[in-house]
């Protein structure tokens, strides 16, 4: 350690007191500055630097500037890490002076104990600027073009670990009757660590092939509380994820930038869960049972109706033959009846005719018999006149060949060696001479 420097003499002619050791003066200055009245100041924030224990920035306006410092834990509690240059803030605190040392530089700062954004209008203006920039780059559309499964098996959820949003998501999924797999990616949702942690969680979830949809859920809060969800890096990451993201940040009146870039923005975590599973599983099961029954019924009907038609067609030829058979039997019966009627009519007619004939015969029988007897007698006489025996009795002879056939010419007679002469009282054999 270096030996203390000897106390030097003052400047000749100077009427000022001293010289004093600089450290002693610096400490006195610190004490004096700390004694200043503590006040609130406002101005635009510039040059934010975040250290391990403290953060530093400047507050400026058109008339001047003030270096400011704040303990890191107090700054983190504000969750205002997204504040950019130009944001107007109100800082409460007082003057402070670090006297420095041989090895470190002194510094003056306005030690801020409390800070708030001067007006949400400023924050909203920042958000609007970023919103326009993202919209101009077309980053609101990619997520909305992604196909969202109606029945995902695995859902990723980004939320605060102890928040109510987690319970609301589970309630929404239960309401859907969904009981698949949830992958929780817990992350801070408010302080300055929130946006990077949420971004990383989203990237990790999207890297899991099984995760089909991601819900980002956070309950209500002030715009400053929700500011992490307006982080540019986070929003750009969401816009380009392969997995659809459903956001539910804050209340329905809040509109963070993640709502714009996400596939769907919901007003509550419960609604976000329902949007992640659009199908009401219980109703879908009932509907499916109905569809299956209709399908079964229609299938059975289609076959039964066709079988009925086939059966009708198969019966048709037999029916046709049967109809013809019936008609034929009818015709046969009619024919028999007609024939019977005709026979009876003819019989009656014949009987009548016979009766008439009988009567006529009876009337004509006397004269006709006499005439017939005469005719018969005349015919008998004519026949007797032509009888050959009568010729033989008159002296004629009949020449017969050996077979008994009559020989009617001399030439025929010469052909036979022996002939028979038939006389009225017997036969005589003769031999013709040549």
């Amino acid at each position: 350690m270096a030996a203390p420097s000897p106390h030097p003499d003052g400047i000749p002619g100077s009427r000022l007191s001293g010289p004093w050791p600089v450290g002693e003066y610096a400490s006195a200055l610190r004490d004096r500055l700390r004694g200043f009245t503590r006040v609130q100041v406002f101005g635009e924030l510039f040059g934010l630097k975040v250290g391990r224990a403290k953060v530093w920035f400047e507050l400026r306006d058109r008339w001047g500037a003030l270096p400011c410092s704040m303990w890191r834990k107090d700054w983190d509690a504000l969750g205002l890490h997204t504040l950019g240059d130009g944001a107007v803030v109100v800082a409460a605190g007082g003057c402070d002076f670090y006297p420095g040392s041989r090895a470190s530089s002194p510094s003056f700062s306005f030690a801020v104990s409390k800070l708030r954004v001067a007006g949400e209008g400023d924050l909203l203006a920042q958000v609007e600027r970023l919103r326009r920039a993202l919209a101009d780059e077309g980053l609101f559309e990619p997520q909305k073009r992604l196909a969202r499964p109606s029945l995902p098996r695995t859902i990723g959820v980004v939320s605060g670990e102890g928040g109510k949003a987690r319970d609301d998501v589970l309630a929404g999924l239960r309401r859907r009757g969904w009981a698949g797999r949830i992958v929780w990616a817990f992350a801070p949702v408010q302080d300055r660590r929130a946006a990077p942690a949420i971004t990383r969680a989203l990237q990790d979830l999207a890297a899991c092939e099984e995760v089909e949809v991601i819900v980002v859920a956070r309950g209500g809060g002030s715009l400053a509380d929700l500011f992490a969800f307006c982080d540019e890096t986070l929003c750009r990451t969401v816009a380009l994820l392969r997995v659809p993201v459903i956001s539910s940040v804050g209340h329905h009146t809040d509109r963070t930038l993640i709502d714009d870039v996400a596939a769907v923005a919901c007003s509550t975590p419960t609604h976000a869960a329902e949007a992640a599973v659009p199908v009401d599983c219980a109703a879908a099961r009932a509907q499916l049972r109905g569809l299956a029954a209709r399908l079964e019924r229609r299938s059975r009907l289609a076959i039964v109706e066709r079988a009925r038609v086939l059966a009708r067609l198969a019966r048709a030829p037999a029916d046709h033959v049967e109809r013809h058979r019936t008609r034929l039997h009818q015709h046969a019966r009619e024919l028999r009846a007609t024939a019977r009627r005709r026979l009876e009519t003819a019989g009656r007619h014949t009987s009548t005719t016979a009766l008439v004939l009988e009567r006529k015969a009876r009337a004509a029988s006397g004269a006709e018999q006499v005439q017939h007897a005469r005719n018969l007698e005349r015919l008998a006489l004519a026949l007797a006149a032509h009888e050959p025996q009568r010729a033989l009795e008159r002296g004629y002879a009949l020449v017969e060949d050996p077979s008994g056939e009559p020989v009617t010419s001399a030439a025929a007679a010469r052909e036979h060696a022996e002939l028979t002469l038939r006389l009225h009282d017997g036969r005589v054999s003769v031999r013709p001479r040549p």
């Binding site: 109606s150 029945l151 098996r153 698949g180 797999r181 099984e210 879908a284 229609r298 299938s299 289609a302």
Partner: protein, 83 residues
């Protein structure tokens, strides 16, 4: 959600409705009717499978558990079913 020849759950449901409408119209011939019925039954089975897949009971995993399972090569579904 599994994507197969039957598509997604929603496309399968839409197709079932179309099949039933076609069958209800009575315009389909016997062969088409039988084919539609077969297709419809296949789609119903697919949808029932999809619904069953999200009815086994809620399984909650932390992201780090999921990642470690993936890194060790065991699929979460297989582990859950084994458990």
């Amino acid at each position: 959600m599994s994507e197969s020849a039957t598509g997604t759950y929603e496309t399968a449901c839409t197709r079932i409705e179309e099949v039933i409408r076609r069958l209800d119209s009575g315009e389909a011939g016997l062969r088409e009717t039988l084919e539609l019925c077969q297709e419809g039954k296949r789609l119903v089975e697919f949808c029932a499978g999809e619904l069953d897949a999200v009815a086994h009971g809620l399984e909650e995993l932390r992201l780090d558990e999921m990642v470690s399972r993936l890194e060790t090569g065991s699929r979460p579904g297989a582990t859950a079913q084994a458990a």
